[in-house]
Amino acid sequence: MEVDIACVGFGPAMGGFLTTLARQWTEAPDDPAFASRTMPGMPLQVLCYERADDIAAGVSGVVTRARGIRDSFPELNPAEIPMATAVASERVFYLLDSVGASRRSLTLRAADLLLRSLGRVAGVRDSAFELPWTPSFLHKHGGLVLSLGQFNQWVGSQLMAGGLVQIWPGSPVSEPIFSGSAVQGIRLADQGVDRTGAPAEGYMAGVEVRAPLTVVGDGPVGAVSQAIDRHRGLPTGHAQREWALGMKFVIELPEDSPELEPGTVWHTIGYPEPEIFGFLYVHPERLVSVGIFVPSWMGDASRTAYRYLQHYIQHPALWRHLKDGTLRSWGAKSLQESGQHGEPFLCGDGYARIGENSGSTNMLTGSGVDEAWTTGVQLAESVVELLRAEKAFSGENLAATYEARRRASWVEHEAREAKDARNGFQGGLVRGMMGMALAGLTRGRLHLPARAPAAHQQIRPTRSGVAANELAKLCAAAQAGGRPLHDAVLSARGWPEVAFDGQLLVTQQDALLMGGKVQAMPGFADHVAFRDPRLCAQCAEKTCIAMCSGQALTQGTGGVPAFEREKCIHCGACLWNCAHSPGGEQANVEFRAGAGGLHSVEN
């Protein structure tokens, strides 16, 4: 198949790209620049392939400054987008350990003790201390609280109604088509194959879609992005080493819940573990998004997300609002947190990268959606410029237009300021916060030195917090198919068992059915695989299982985790939650293109 522009992944970056391109075409449909080169007589053939079963499925709730989004939609009325509202207030809380099981340093224990003893005098309420001042770089004033699923659907509906763009969900892209260093299109995933990818009933080889330009916006763990990075490498000195898993619930508050005004935004630090940041965003109609970020710099080999999230929402400061609420939806995604340290080559012959995997996320402000959207807009403007100039989509031309636009924009300027803002976190929360403040307040001029090792090296099995002999017993039990190791370790550390109520506190498997609802089309190969089974067999900690958002990875035979494709929500956490490497930066887990995942537009 031949098209003019092949696009991979439909997220905010691609939304910005396609919206801008389609709008320019609508304003000048007879402009010869928009005539198809591959189908004479037709307008540009622009096809976008999305892995998820729906363009609204499997993404996340966000708070964003929405500068780029508002530039594209100056008359934007949040009321037109379900679950969207303007940011009304922002607060930052330090959460004290209300359970007594958190792995706190002496510094944090002392801080907790001091705050507890001062109590309400210091403004401590419900075991939470509200920071009296927050730096401006953390603010999202004038921004929006969004469900990204609903936003994507809103954008996608307008795009498809326009007629220029075709967006095909349920179509995972397995790899780019290379010719030397140039990208000449994409290859869709094979269908009608068994788990290993071998042809089976109804086999259909992945169709090749060739195009003069391939736009890659497949997110932090996209197969096409990974393949390009393997093929071409990253720029000298760049590496994608810092990650986080964001997991959240969408909760409907009870009618008599204490008032939380739509647009309320809370950021929290300190609980359930010092490394885990949390958030609460209030949508209209008594809906809240509440969640946590579990970062790669949390060296604990038993780090996990789902159980921590359950403990998080039960912290007194949140529970007073959330108690008796109803879980409506649930979801998780990996975040590429390397910022400019992980930026790949933004373009090359026949392709351009936009969005999160292009290193656009700002690690100081914790903002990614608006930046991703804006990189898409910048690429669309550049594409139109090249079309009108009848220039090829060569690496040189794309660099002179797209990359130049990006380098001159606020996305780049702010990313530079943020580049080293997170350097301190490898040394713990306090050092990390100091580093952020230093970089933020000096606009990036001063910062702590960087020392982030490869993601697999950040996992430190020795720091379990459980006595060695007890840990050995728990490991043996987990290997024998009993309780998952991370769950047992958390209980051994003193975290209370979660009292399931079937409404808000539910088992992880129930969460797959209640809100996010996970489904995978048959006929695709397993998209999670292990490079060297011997490394898995030697691995006691199995952090990939602990961090698997959907419990799609479980103890398997011979020490190699078992993978159930039907439970995978494509968060990609396994990719960076493996402590073992067959060599280089890569871990022992492969994360390929696959279909299916979450089905919830409330995420």
Binding site: M1, A56, S157, G170, M204, D510, S600, V601
Partner: protein, 270 residues
């Protein structure tokens, strides 16, 4: 029976059943909360009939498939982005209200009118396909009524299979009570077949099929005529979702027989 068929598939769209569905009352009648923003899918029963139609058409060159669907134009377009990748068809969209509560008579009248107006349709070769049941919350009679309005009296419901006999007639397997099939023989087209699940798997997504379909789908959507269904013919007294029970327990040590026994006890205790 003619060797080529004109197959018209009537298929509504419904909210993706994997979403959280919440009934609400509105001035225009019962509905679902935020229904316009819920992702939609082709009615699963009708989707089976579309796949059966595609297989029949593929086996009889020269046959043609129309997909007639009534729903909001914007939602139809979204659904088509998935359905259009699976099999080839010509879309006949009718811009209408969302939801499954409109009066089946009004809906059938709109469908029959659209079908009767199809250019090139040979009624002597017509097979009217659709779902036996519907996930649209309708009364499950729309297809029958549409057939009646088109003057088609040979009607079969709960169809799982048809077998052509070579003389223009065909054998039909219809589901009946007790998990059995009733075997009927129909002399030939035209006929109405309300499909159960059929026997075919969901076709693979084929981007080439999608592109070929899309050339006709977008213009059809732009020209879709509007159907204003009579909202005053029915009054719903109450609407509720079926009660759901969820009871999860992780068991690692029970044998399959023990699990089956426990399930049996649980079911029979209801």
């Amino acid at each position: 029976m003619a060797e080529t068929f004109h197959i018209v598939v009537c298929a509504g769209i419904v909210p993706d059943p994997l979403q959280t569905l919440e009934p609400v009352s509105s001035p225009s009648g019962p509905g679902l909360k935020n229904e316009m923003v819920l992702p939609a899918v082709l009615d699963p029963w009708a989707a089976c009939s579309l796949y059966e139609a595609a297989q029949l058409a593929a086996a009889h060159a020269g046959s043609k498939i129309w997909l007639v669907s009534l729903g909001p134009k914007a939602k139809l377009q979204q659904v088509m982005m998935t359905v259009a990748q699976k099999v080839g068809f010509e879309l006949v969209p009718i811009d209408g209200p969302i939801g499954g509560f409109p009066d089946a008579h009004s809906t059938a009248a709109a469908l029959a009118e659209a079908i009767a107006a199809l250019p090139g349709l040979d009624r002597s070769r017509l097979l009217l396909f659709g779902g036996w049941e519907s996930a649209t919350r309708g009364a499950g009679v729309t297809l029958q009524l549409t057939g009646e309005l088109l003057g088609i009296t040979d009607q079969f419901q709960g169809v799982d299979q048809i077998t052509l006999r070579g003389d223009g007639s065909f054998e039909v397997l219809e589901r009946v009570e007790g998990g059995k099939h009733q075997v009927s023989v129909c002399a030939g087209t035209p006929a109405v077949l309300g499909w159960a699940t059929g026997n075919l798997p969901e076709p693979r997504n084929n981007p080439q099929t999608g592109m070929a379909n899309m050339r006709g789908i977008l213009p059809a959507l732009q020209k879709a005529r509007t159907a204003s269904l009579d909202a005053n013919t029915l009054r719903y007294v109450s609407v509720s979702l079926p009660a759901q029970q969820r009871e999860t327990r992780v068991e690692k040590n029970l044998s399959p027989d023990e699990i089956a026994q426990e399930l049996l006890q649980w079911i029979t205790a209801e």
